[in-house]
């Protein structure tokens, strides 16, 4: 309903707003839950609820355009012979070829490479496009094991064991049949056109003791060269992080519930897991308890959109962040350029989330050759590089304002919270007070 249609006497229910009513009607009509892409759309406590204090009489800033503020990060220093050396602390998260088109994967690799960071494979294995265009490529080992092979393990720069993702901790995946092209089907050893389920559990290990042995096997297969990441969706983050450390991870990736997905039930996206903000604090504390903070590196993902998000995650103790949804938007997802076509398929630019459908006008979340051809991987790569540079510049701007010569020198002491919830979750004081809800007084 447009605002112009409103007249006195029309009162929308908070409980049954127009989206709720439409969903009940859709469910009644179609008899199946809503599957969609993107991440959580509800309002959640997030990094927006934190502020930097900046320099003051007692804190000395760095000159914004003169003095260095470094951004490099090394991932995998614990056991791997060849840790990843990245120029910026922002990586591209795992997204599959299958969910994304080949040009999209190539563009992500090009952009990441241009600015000296890593990109990540996804369910379905490694494509030549992304290996060829990614200087630093993280290879995911997922429960489905689609396309997994030791040759790609060895030509990867790091290995990421995916236990879960923020959009659907405890859930598997589903690549709907209409996105299963010949090439995707061949990579996954399945017939074309059928729905491809990705398992929610790994086939050959259960529990943290097994995971330790699994990591050992992967190290043996790759002769202890590759950093091994363990990725978890944010749920019981404290325990998951400590168990991943115990299992021998070099790097832990914690993906908050705002993390995106190519195709998951809406009820899953919106109702399972915890937000990125509390997950970050829980993960850092878990590492600190074990005296492993900075020894096992922490990557945070789920709703990272701006340099402010990057800087705040780092200030809370993350070593790096990953972007997924924002990277797709950078490539051209939801672009106004395609608004007319989004409307033809029942959406609009700025709202499109049917990444599962394979009809993406921007040529990103599709396997349709004609649609895919719309995305120029060179131009897409340039956009990704531009965006990553902006994220970095913004994070540096904030770090210099706090007097830091490296973005990793940002610390919780630089932050205050705007809301009681954020103060409790991030464990920084509510702005204007010294109150951290839940902190036990001594």
């Amino acid at each position: 309903m447009s605002s112009g249609a409103w007249h006195p006497g029309l009162r929308e229910s908070y409980l049954y707003d127009r989206n709720v009513i439409a969903e009940i009607q859709r469910a009644s009509r179609e008899g199946i839950y809503d599957i969609r892409g993107f991440g959580a759309k509800r309002r959640l406590p997030h990094f927006d609820d934190l502020l930097f204090l900046g320099a003051s009489v007692s804190r000395y800033p760095l000159e914004g355009y003169r003095e260095r503020c470094d951004t490099d990060v090394v991932l995998g220093t614990r056991f791997a012979k060849k840790p990843l050396e990245l120029k910026i602390p922002v990586t591209i998260a795992g997204m599959s070829f299958g969910a994304l088109s080949a040009p999209a994967k190539e563009a992500l690799g090009r952009g990441a490479t241009e600015v000296g960071t890593a990109t990540t494979t996804g369910d379905g294995g490694m494509t030549e496009e992304e290996r060829g265009h990614s200087k630093t490529l993280v290879y995911q080992v997922l429960p489905s094991r689609y396309g997994l092979n030791p040759d790609d393990l060895r030509r990867a720069d790091a290995i990421e064991i995916v236990v879960g993702q923020g959009a659907k901790p405890g859930g598997g995946g589903m690549l709907l049949g209409h996105k299963i092209s010949d090439r995707v089907a061949a990579m996954r050893d399945l017939p074309q056109g059928i729905d491809q389920r990705s398992a929610s559990r790994h086939p050959d290990w259960t529990g943290p003791d097994d995971l330790e042995i699994k990591i050992h096997e992967l190290r043996e297969v790759t002769d202890w060269e590759k950093p091994i990441f363990v990725k978890v969706g944010a749920t019981r983050t404290h325990y998951d992080v400590q168990l991943a450390v115990k299992a021998g991870a070099d790097v832990i990736v914690v993906d908050g519930m705002q993390g995106g997905t190519a195709a998951t039930q809406d009820v899953f996206i919106e109702h399972v897991g915890i937000p990125t903000l509390p997950a970050t604090r829980l993960a850092v504390n878990a590492l600190q308890e074990l005296d492993m903070h900075r020894k096992v590196q922490l990557i945070i993902s789920g709703g990272i959109r701006t340099g402010a998000d990057v800087a705040k995650a780092l200030a809370l103790g993350a070593d790096a962040v990953s972007i997924g949804t924002a990277a797709l938007i950078s490539l051209g997802d939801n672009s106004p350029e395609y608004d007319e076509e989004y409307r033809k398929i029942g959406s609009a630019s700025g709202f499109y989330d049917d990444w599962q459908a394979g009809r993406d006008p921007a040529g990103i979340s599709t396997q349709d050759d004609k649609l895919s051809a719309r995305l120029d991987p060179v131009l897409g790569g340039r956009r990704i590089a531009n965006y990553l540079r902006v994220l970095t510049l913004e994070a540096q701007t904030l770090a210099r304002a706090c007097g830091k010569s490296h973005v990793h020198n940002l610390e919780p002491e630089d932050l205050v919270a705007l809301t009681v919830e954020a103060a409790a979750m991030a464990r920084v004081p509510l702005a204007g007070t010294d109150w951290i809800p839940g902190r036990h007084s001594t």
């Binding site: 199946i32 393990l153 389920r197 050959d204 096997e217």
Partner: protein, 234 residues
Amino acid sequence: MGTAELTGVEVVDLAAIPLRELNRRLHDRADGSRSWRVLNPNGAHAVACGLDAEIDVEIEGHVGYYCAGMNKLATVRVHGNAGTGLAENLMSGTVIVDGSASQSAGASGQGGLLVVHGDASARCGISMKGIDIVVRGSVGHLSAFMAQTGRLVVCGDAGEALGDSIYEARLYVRGEVAGLGADCVEKELRDEHVAELADLLARAGVDGVDAREFRRYGSARRLYNFHVDNAAAY
């Protein structure tokens, strides 16, 4: 370091050298040794994993998890029992276990042949993607779960939920099946299947078993595309 016997077999004693050194040497194509004997494995994990050469490895004793994991080309024989994830993600080559195997044997294997002369446990052939598995004894529950392609031959019995959510893999069981999983059904055993079975049994070195005594199971293909009317089947 191991000693080369007069027979040309390289002998490595895991009671004397670390596993890392064994696997490093097995991965080193410049090493040149084609035949290996591994002594005193004592249940070690990840023994002979990630091989990628036409070599023979004989392991004299029991092994732990992930023995011969991700193997390519090599032939690995365990003269004992094997732990979880035996020959997981096998790509090619042959893995033989004289004893029994724990759960998830041959998990997500993409090729090659896995032979278990004893029993295999739960989830044998889970997520298999082209591997052939021959088990002389029985397999546990949820074997061939989400099995995509390849063949699982069980000369004994199969546990509950055999072939649950199966895709195009072919399952052959000679004994009793405790229960079939979602979308797995018995199918006609035709002559081409008997021939296929006989060939697999011969390649596995399993004698005295008549291929005509097996039943064949596979996908009903009713769950290939999600439909709400089938929701109760999941």
